[in-house]
């Protein structure tokens, strides 16, 4: 396979193509949209409405097919970036159009290209207004997300980070539920504030890494890492408290603010339930499956390895781990009492992502691999949960758990699929959920045994909140008359969930191909951070170690 890929020069064009395809498709859709003035129903019989659906689906399927080759490009054991592209972009600012993928980012790229066709199919009939704009925004959003995962230039990373923010704002704000404007605004502002602090840090680093002779900054990852490693001993003394805060800690906090909101870490998570609840199905799925991972990806790609000493200083590390564990327990407890199923899943995301943060900051090879597996697995199972909620919502127009009950009798296929997906979210062995959380905990236990033990209590709570919800939705007496007329899933809906189920079981039963592909990159992450943390700790003045 690799020989074939090499023969077609795959590595040289694959990443730019993955970015260009959705942008081009978006342009086509916008042009078609401005040309067709028809006020159709937006249904399946509306030819004008079918055009953007079909183009988008085709584009995403093509994206997936194109991206598949990366699986062979990033072979097991690979540690560096592959499929590298590096073009000077804005010379006067030293910005490069530099792309590449390694064992960590390739899995997230593949997750994105895998999920997106399903997202389009999931909203195939539920979105019936402004279809052109909707699909164009989804395409732009995808380009933005892929760009973040592929970027090897810090400024490009930031541009892509912002590019994906705007379409999501509109997707929530236009096609969302009753309180969509509030939710969209909240999402936008929370994310924006964090990002602005990160922008300051990025500019600082870029200038520091630049050529002092010409004054041109440099944002290439390699240079940035070198610059960050030489951050001077300077910093700020908080005179009120008499605490000296080193510069690297300030920079780390700037990145932290952007990523922690995105993850979202407790207590910066309150935008998420609102955004999830109000977003249309596609928005919820993209948010849960991919956008939350951008936060944790930011930590593993930038925040931690850039400033290992600051991130792994005892105070910072313990603090973040405590927040992560609070997220696991708190998220689960709050999820348990939500009357709205989407909100329940939103809070369960807080818990799962807390697990990722625990794994990353526990910093063992097992826990970091586990954290990556949770990122992928959560993308699959929570994405599928939102898809399923969207499907039943399309029929009943209610997300209230109490509005259902006993519907396994009426919609057995829906009930079966919901059960399987929920079980994977609970972490049942045989599904991805078990492998990933087990790895996080078994690894984290080496460095943080007590914190890990507390987080393992989340295992109990996860079963409690999801099985309770499951019972109230698909089991119990079928006592609401209108529920007896619910129609079961159709072939489109069944068909789009089958790949997710397959992935869930595959990652649960035979995760080795994924684990070995990530091993090189995650191991070098752990080694680099360990080395950086001990080295810097040794060089710091005694008082602030």
């Amino acid at each position: 396979m690799l020989a074939f890929l090499t023969s077609i020069g795959y590595e040289s064009w694959v990443l730019p193509t993955l970015l260009a395809l959705p942008v081009a498709a978006a342009l086509v859709i916008v042009l078609h949209g401005s040309a067709s003035k028809g006020e159709g129903t937006g249904g399946l019989d509306d030819a004008a409405a079918m055009f953007p659906r079909r183009i988008t689906l085709f584009t995403f399927l093509l994206e997936f097919v194109v991206s598949i080759g990366l699986w062979w490009v990033v072979a097991p054991g690979e540690t560096g970036f592959r499929a590298v592209v590096d073009l000077p972009w804005i010379r006067t600012w030293g910005i490069h159009f530099a792309l590449g993928v390694d064992g960590i980012s390739v899995m997230l790229v593949l997750l994105t290209t895998f999920i997106m066709p399903l997202v389009v199919l999931g909203g195939w009939t539920s979105v019936r207004t402004k279809l052109h704009a909707y699909h164009a925004l989804m395409l732009i959003l995808t380009a933005g997300m892929l760009g973040v995962f592929m970027a090897r230039d810090l400024f490009l990373f930031y541009v892509m980070w912002e590019v994906m923010l705007v379409p999501m704002y509109f997707i929530v704000g236009i096609w969302g539920g009753a309180r969509r404007l509030y939710a969209a605004l909240k999402f936008f502002i929370f994310t924006m504030v964090g990002s602005l602090l990160m922008l300051v840090a990025i500019l600082y680093l870029g200038i520091k890494a630049g050529d002092p002779a010409t004054g041109i900054p440099n944002f290439a990852f390699d240079q940035i890492f070198a610059a960050a490693a030489q951050t001077p001993q300077g910093g700020i003394t908080l005179s009120w408290f008499g605490i000296f805060v080193p510069g690297s800690t300030l920079l780390f906090l700037a990145f932290f603010s952007a990523f922690a909101v995105k993850v979202p870490m407790f207590p910066f998570h309150t935008w998420l339930p609102d955004a999830h609840v109000e977003a249309p199905t596609a928005g919820s799925v993209i948010l849960a499956s991919i956008m939350l991972k951008l936060g944790t990806y930011g930590f593993i790609r930038l925040a931690i390895p850039l400033f290992p000493a600051a991130a792994m200083s005892p105070g910072m590390r313990t603090g973040i781990i405590i927040l992560a564990v609070i997220g696991v327990i708190y998220g689960s407890l709050v999820a348990m009492v939500q009357p709205d199923f989407k909100k329940l899943v939103a809070y369960s995301s807080v818990a799962h992502l807390g697990m990722v943060m625990l794994g990353l900051f526990a910093l063992t090879r097992e826990s970091v691999q586990g954290a990556m597996m949770v990122m992928i697995g959560h993308g699959l199972s929570t994405g599928a949960l939102f898809l399923l909620i969207g499907m039943i919502y399309e029929r009943k127009h209610s997300r209230e758990i109490a509005a259902y009950g006993g519907i396994a009798k009426v919609v057995p296929v829906f009930a079966t699929l919901l059960t399987i997906v929920a079980l994977s979210s609970i972490g049942l062995p045989g599904t991805n959920g078990f492998v990933s959380e087990f790895l996080v905990m078994v690894g984290s236990f080496k460095t943080y045994p007590y914190m890990t033990t507390i987080s393992a209590l989340g295992v109990i709570l996860a079963a409690a909140y999801l099985l309770w919800a499951l019972q109230r939705i698909i089991y119990n007496p079928l006592d609401k008359p209108d529920n007896t007329h619910l129609t079961d899933l159709n072939w489109r809906e069944i068909g789009l969930l089958i790949p997710v189920l397959f992935a869930i079981l595959w990652l649960g039963l035979y995760p080795k191909p994924v684990l070995t592909r990530m091993e090189g990159a995650t191991t070098s992450f752990v080694r680099r951070v360990e080395a950086g943390a001990s080295q810097r700790a040794a060089s710091l003045p005694r008082g602030i170690r």
Binding site: G43, L44, W89, I90, W93, T125, S126, V163, V166, K186, F188, I189, P267, F268, T270, Y330, L333, V334, V337, T364, G370, M391, E394, A408, K409, V410, P412, T416, L428, P429, G430, V435, F438, M441, V442, G443, K446, P449, T453, V459, I460, A464, L467, Q471, I474, Y475, N476, P477, T484, H485, T487, D488, N490, R492, E493, Y510, K512, L515, E519, T523
Partner: protein
């Protein structure tokens, strides 16, 4: 590790039929796939292409949607009973896959007979979770212990599958039932065959899932769905312990497979805090799965499932997984006497406690459920005092006589149900007050149930006598000389605690004899209380149900021959002892110090005491209880005093509800969700970020307030693109 490699290379079983061991769990899994497919395809009506286009007119929908109605074991009283269209195929596939597994197990067993069994035969299929220093293989282990368990699971499993063919024949969810049952057996086999703790855990949680699905099989009844959920969550509390035990093992031993851990564990030292902690966490897992105090509460509720499920999962196989886990981890437990005493004491306490509740239950299945909890307690006493073989022996004999008791009760309920169905009676078909005198209508069930009752009561020659006696004898012997007698447990000397446990065991034996006789008297003796009309419909179940009962009856009668004590040489002595020696022999010797068992005179005295107690229990029940005075449930007077407390199971469920469940939900809802989350965090963030920051940006503030953020967003996007574009093009 070297030893492991060396033994694996030359293992006498390599190349034999044992290489095919993976087929044993796979066959029932295939059965699950087939039956599951039949179930879903027969129940499904694929929805319309466009669900948004508000059409409720899709064909075939509405109340006539008859599949999976889940009304009750034998259809809904208001509908004619219609057999499922795939019932024939399912009836063949479901039991057949089990029978094939059983056959394969027998073949492997035969292959093992002729060769050295000192080292386990590990069949590695593929690398499951390789990450960092962790290497978990998907590997199965063939050794004497796993073979005993596999034989029980597939053997008793086959019988119960056959029984189910009759018992569930009219259920609309027939294929779904067999799919779950097949899946259960598949996971159970992974549990007993797994060669490492994580693989065992796959089975461990998998059987929990199937238990959940089968308890809530008739899910439209909220009580059933509640019971299933409760079982899963309470089991998860135990699983938490199991997980932490695995984390501790990996962090300290660097391995999770049985061979690796057993090689590394002695390095931690005898009676070391580490090993004790690991064992206690493992035991938390066992307490969940095997329904021991304080986590036993799910098992009585689990009786909400179909009765064959209670027989297979909640009596014969799954609930004994905890006992198996401790026997499997004998190398760890023998290093941790304090943990062992904890296991034995909790086991003894559970045996006694559950037996008292069993005295006062009216539901025939509830009596058996508490009896199961109690008998599991015995098994934990056995494995707790390091008498691993005795514990496993009781596990096996219990599987025979308790499966028989449950299936027998299933027969009774089946008969009662049919009678009630025929007469449109809506009384409780499981309440013993509605039964009575059934020996006239179902003589086969009657005789077989008495065999099982005598077996569980510990009457000589019946299976339970030997296994229970072996456990009690071991406790007595350990109190005199063992590592357990020498340590102190929460300040109590080990030997004193062991005597207490022995006394608890004897008392529980007395109570067992009483409540079992009570159940038999009320069900089969005395006058019939089911009603005039109903009596004419009471009859023995079809042969597909009574056949398995007969087989189990024979096993309950002769199962004790598996491990005869030296004192009673009526056949080969200590077969099971000898068979399990390679797995648990070293660990047992570590506890006893190689000391001989008690003197013959003492042993005779112990046996005499046990038999006297069992006989006394039966006599007390016969003398004191008068089935003639019972009245049907509907007319029964309310209970008072201690009887009421026992009937309500000491109000433990209520206690847990008030102390754990409700406060957790209340705090989550009122403190965390509305208080902290919405009240504090969100308010602060929205005030600071949502209002403060925009104000900082002056003019943006007013636009944000007026909902013009869209404009801002577009400006941002276009701005960024324009600036970058300008530079790019230059």
């Amino acid at each position: 590790m070297l030893l492991q490699e060396a033994t694996r290379g030359v293992h006498p079983l390599s190349g034999s039929i044992a290489e095919w061991v993976w087929l044993i769990p796979l066959l029932p899994f295939l059965g699950f796939l087939i039956n599951g497919w039949l179930s879903i395809t027969s129940a499904a009506h694929v929805g319309p292409k466009d669900p948004s286009a508000a059409g409720h007119d899709a064909a075939g929908h509405g109340d006539d949607h008859g599949h999976d109605s889940g009304g009750g074991a034998h259809g809904d009283d208001h509908h004619p009973v219609v057999r499922h269209k795939y019932a024939g195929l399912v009836s063949i596939v479901g039991p057949a896959v089990l029978l094939l597994s059983f056959g394969l197990t027998l073949a492997i067993f035969m292959a093992m007979l002729g060769v050295s069994r000192e080292a386990p035969f590990v069949r590695t299929l593929f690398s499951w979770i390789p990450a960092g220093d962790l290497h978990v293989d998907a590997a199965l282990q063939v050794d004497p212990l796993s073979m005993v368990m596999t034989l029980v699971v597939t053997g008793v499993g086959t019988l119960i599958h056959l029984f189910s063919v009759g018992y569930m024949q009219d259920d609309p969810g027939y294929p779904r039932y067999f799919a779950y049952l097949n899946l259960f057996v598949s996971f159970m086999l992974v549990l007993v065959l797994g060669a490492s703790y994580p693989v065992l855990f796959v089975g461990w949680e998998g059987v929990g899932l199937c238990s959940y699905l089968l308890i809530g099989f008739w899910f439209t009844d909220k009580a059933n769905a509640d019971a299933g959920k409760k079982a899963f969550i309470v089991n998860r509390i135990g699983d938490f312990g199991f997980l932490v035990a695995m984390f501790l093992m990996f962090a300290n031993f660097g391995a999770l497979d049985f061979l690796g851990v057993s090689a590394a564990a002695p390095g931690a030292g005898f009676n070391s805090p580490l090993v004790t902690t690991i064992c206690l966490f493992l035991f938390l897992g066992c307490a969940g799965k095997s329904a021991q105090i304080p986590l036993y509460v799910w098992l009585p509720d689990a009786m909400a499932g179909p009765t064959p499920v209670s027989a297979l999962i909640h009596a014969a196989t799954m609930v004994t997984a905890g006992v198996y886990l401790i026997a499997r981890s004998a190398f760890l437990f023998s290093l941790a006497p304090v943990a062992q005493l904890t296991v034995a004491f909790v086991g003894g306490l559970t045996a006694l406690f559950a037996a008292t509740i069993g005295l006062k239950q009216w539901d025939i299945k509830k009596v058996l459920a508490y009896s199961t909890v109690s008998q599991l307690g015995y098994m934990f006493v056995g494995v707790g005092v390091g008498a691993y073989t005795a514990g496993v022996f009781h596990l096996v004999t219990h599987a025979f006589f308790k499966a028989l008791l449950f299936l027998g009760s299933g027969s009774v309920i089946f008969a009662m149900h049919r009678a009630y169905h025929a007469t449109h009676n809506h009384d409780d078909a499981q309440d013993m007050r509605n039964m009575g005198g059934l020996r006239r209508y179902m003589p086969v069930t009657f005789i077989l149930m008495w065999i099982a009752t005598l077996a569980i009561a510990g009457i000589p020659v019946f299976a339970g006598f030997f296994s229970k006696d072996e456990i009690l004898g071991a406790v007595f012997a350990r109190a005199h000389e063992s590592t357990l007698a020498q340590v102190s447990w929460l300040g109590i000397p080990g030997s004193a605690l062991l005597f207490i446990i022995y006394a608890m065991g004897l008392t529980a034996a007395l109570l067992t004899a009483i409540y079992m006789t009570r159940m038999m008297l009320y069900t089969f003796h005395g006058p019939n209380r089911s009603g005039e009309k109903e009596q004419s419909h009471l009859a023995e179940a079809p042969w597909v149900m009574t056949g398995p009962l007969v087989v189990l009856g024979v096993l309950s009668l002769f199962g004790g021959w598996l491990n005869l004590p030296a004192l009673l040489p009526v056949g080969p002595i200590g077969v099971l002892d000898h068979w399990l020696e390679p797995v648990v022999g070293t660990a047992t010797n570590a506890v006893t110090g190689g000391a001989a068992e008690v003197a013959h005179g003492t042993e005779w005295a112990l046996i005499g005491a046990a038999v006297a107690i069992a006989v006394a229990g039966i006599l007390i029940a016969i003398v004191r209880l008068k089935p003639e005075r019972l009245v049907p449930k509907a007319q029964a007077p309310e209970e008072h005093g201690i009887e009421r407390v026992l009937l309500n199971k000491y109000y433990v469920d209520e206690l847990y509800d008030r102390v754990v469940v409700r406060p957790t939900v209340w705090i989550s809802r009122n403190v965390l969700a509305t208080g902290v989350d919405e009240g504090i965090i969100d308010k602060l963030l929205v005030t600071w970020v949502g209002t403060g920051i925009p104000r900082l940006f002056g003019w943006f503030g007013s636009r944000l307030q007026s909902g013009q953020v869209g404009t801002y967003a577009w400006v941002l996007l276009i701005g960024v693109i324009a600036v970058l574009g300008a530079f790019t093009l230059r």
